[in-house]
């Protein structure tokens, strides 16, 4: 079953009176459990596509079927809910909240979905162990290395068992050793049946993915 199905997806930005087309006629179909890499030069619309797939933005035209719903015309509240429940984000600069410790960071998506205190804490602990940080659950992000922080981000992305995991240059800020660690974890997740979409410049990620989509000038290069 297709987990992601975009039909003639278009996004045009309006800056003042100027129209800036960023994406055009994007038809993308991703099945459950696939590992996809999206590549392209800067200005190709990678970020725009990422934002649309992540429900952070709405397309100008076209449909975006996430799971069994077309989410292209939902309002802000509904989109927030979709994001929280079905999408796990991994950012290039980790984007952890500095005042919260590891466990609290991982819990955050569960917090916004209204889970109980005990359930959230328990689940968060399991995820921390899963990514190898079971002994650092009370640490703050500032006390962790880049690689460790990214691992927390991964655990956080898994918190609500999302339909898709969206990674934006996950190894961009990491040295090659930590980067490899992270990619290994992503491989593991793929083996466990998770759907991964990684937007990247890095060829080594593309090598591990089962399919690579190339974007050029807002369109998928065939």
């Amino acid at each position: 079953m297709a987990v992601v199905d975009t039909r003639k997806l278009c996004k045009t930005y309006k800056i003042g009176s100027v129209q800036l087309p960023a994406l055009c006629d994007v038809n993308l179909k991703i099945e459950q459990g696939q590992y996809i890499a999206i590549m392209g030069p800067s200005g190709s619309g990678k970020s725009t596509l990422l934002n649309l797939l992540g429900c952070l933005d709405r397309p100008t035209s076209g449909q975006y079927w996430l799971g069994e719903r077309d989410v292209s015309q939902l309002d802000d509240d509904e989109l927030s809910l979709i994001r929280g429940k079905h999408i796990g984000f991994i950012f290039q600069s980790y984007n952890l909240i500095g005042q919260l410790n590891v466990i609290e960071n991982i819990e955050l998506p569960m917090f916004y979905q209204g889970f109980s205190e005990e359930a959230s804490a328990e689940h968060a602990r399991e995820l921390a162990i899963l990514v190898g940080l079971g002994d650092r659950i009370k640490h703050r992000p500032s006390e962790l290395s880049g690689g460790q922080q990214q691992r927390v981000a991964i655990a956080r992305a898994l918190a609500n068992d999302p339909l898709i995991i969206l990674a934006d240059e996950p190894t961009g800020n990491l040295d090659s050793e930590s980067g490899t660690e992270i990619l290994n974890i992503l491989d593991r997740l793929h083996q466990q049946g998770k759907t991964l979409i990684a937007v990247t410049h890095d060829d080594s990620i593309a090598a591990r993915a089962e399919r690579t989509i190339h974007l050029f000038d807002g369109r998928i290069k065939q």
Binding site: N51, L56, D76, F89, Q99, L108, E117
Partner: protein, 435 residues
């Protein structure tokens, strides 16, 4: 589940405020000062108002007190070096009022002879004021009988040489002896003590406030207390003459009565009675040598003053709270700006706009409520210091505490809403790109 949310939000808020302790404290100062001043000023105002009302109540709201007043120089005979100036209230006045004016409960003529000395055996002498009056004096003034009895009609009729003493006077004069039925000596005559009276039960008796609105016969200026003798006795035993020196020439004055106290049945009759008395006395006097004190009016005046006082205080406090609130809004806007990225992250993770609003509004509320509580604590301490050092009565009312707390909550919501709204409406994508 909702409680977890609340608890977590509160914990986060506290953590966030604690991390910026200095900033939080400075921001709270406005609220702290505002709340503190509301409570302190209301307490001082309430204390003063209650003191005033107590003092006035002692005069009796249904009393009208006609007092002898020395007429201005112009209206007396001029050019003479040594003359006897007669002025003031007279027995004729009292008779006239008694006979011609209806609806009066009691009339109490009062003769006061100040700065007298009284002796008992060989004990040291005590400075007192002699008050010559009638038995029904007790109906107009709150005297508290401690021993024996007050003056009686028989005493009055037979011009008995009896007296009733203030307990302070008794204490100083008799020391350890029992004052009852003892003879004391003043101005060459002996008077038998038939009773002892105490000061009326009032906490404000001695405060500075009482001075201007003294109870009809409150002692002042050097005397220890009063002794009461029958008016008829005073008339025949004590001279009505007194000497005074002014602008180089000595003059002798003659005053029959220092006061006439008139009591009516109800508050409504007080003001009409004042006009009647004024008209009646004007006919009998050709100089303005008296004035009428109306405690009821003073009471109403005090209430009016208190209202204005409260409004002024309230305005000051409101302004300071407003300023405090604006300061808070300013800080929260800066905080929101600082945490743009964080807001973007939370939104990406599933926070709706309302979640963001709740988060920042709670932080603001935490700030104002904490400031409010600190203000209440401080505001409650200040009246105690004022009472202790300034010797002014203060009353902290539960109402003012609730009001202050409610206001700080309101300020929190009012001035926290805009920053929270700003935070919630930030575009997540822009926010994530920030900084």
């Amino acid at each position: 589940m909702f409680l977890f949310h609340l608890k977590r939000t509160a914990k986060l808020g506290i953590k966030s405020l604690w991390m910026h302790r200095l900033r939080s404290t400075l921001t709270m100062l406005g609220i702290i000062f505002g709340v503190c001043s509301v409570i302190a000023m209301l307490a001082i105002g309430e204390g003063a108002s209650q003191a005033a009302q107590e003092a006035i109540k002692q005069l009796g709201s249904t009393n009208l007190i006609i007092e002898t007043a020395k007429p201005p120089e112009k209206q007396t005979d001029t050019g003479k070096v040594e003359t006897v100036h007669k002025y003031g209230l007279t027995y004729v006045d009292a008779e006239s009022i008694h006979n011609t004016i209806p609806n009066i409960q009691v009339i109490v003529p009062v003769r006061e002879i100040d700065r007298q000395e009284v002796r008992y055996l060989n004990h040291p002498k005590v400075a007192i004021r002699i008050i010559g009056t009638v038995p029904w004096y007790t109906e107009t003034s709150p005297v508290r009988l401690i021993r024996g009895r007050f003056l009686s009609s028989t005493d009055l009729h037979h011009q008995q040489k009896v007296c009733v003493v203030d307990e302070e006077v008794a204490r100083k004069l008799f020391i350890f002896d029992d004052p009852m039925d003892k003879d004391i000596r003043t101005q060459g005559n002996y008077y038998r003590v038939v009773g002892v009276v105490g000061a009326p039960a009032s906490a404000y008796g001695q405060s500075g406030f009482g001075k201007d609105m003294a109870a009809p016969t409150k002692p002042s200026g050097g005397v220890v207390g009063n002794i009461y003798v029958p008016l008829t006795t005073a008339k025949c035993r004590f001279s009505e003459l007194s000497a005074s020196f002014s602008s180089g020439s000595r003059s002798i004055e003659r005053v029959e009565l220092q006061k006439i106290i008139v009591k009516v049945d109800s508050d409504e009759q007080v003001l009409p009675m004042r006009d009647i008395l004024d008209a009646s006395l004007a006919r009998l006097h050709d100089k303005s040598d008296y004035h009428i004190v109306v405690p009821l009016e003073l009471l109403r005046q005090a209430a009016r003053t208190r209202r204005i006082f409260s409004i002024v205080l309230g305005s000051i406090a409101a302004i300071s709270l407003l300023v405090g609130g604006i300061g808070i809004m300013n800080i929260m806007l800066a905080t929101v700006s600082e945490r743009t990225r964080e807001i973007g992250i939370r939104r990406a993770l599933g926070a709706r706009k309302r979640d963001i609003i709740v988060q920042f509004l709670s932080e603001t509320l935490l700030l104002t409520l904490t400031g409010g509580i600190l203000g209440i604590i401080l505001g409650s301490l200040i009246p105690f210091l004022v009472t202790y050092f300034g010797r002014m009565p203060t009353v902290i009312t539960a109402g003012s505490l609730v009001l202050a707390f409610g206001i700080s909550a309101l300020v929190g919501v009012a001035f926290g809403l805009y920053p929270a709204y700003r935070a919630a409406n930030m575009d997540p994508i822009e926010s994530l790109r920030h900084e």
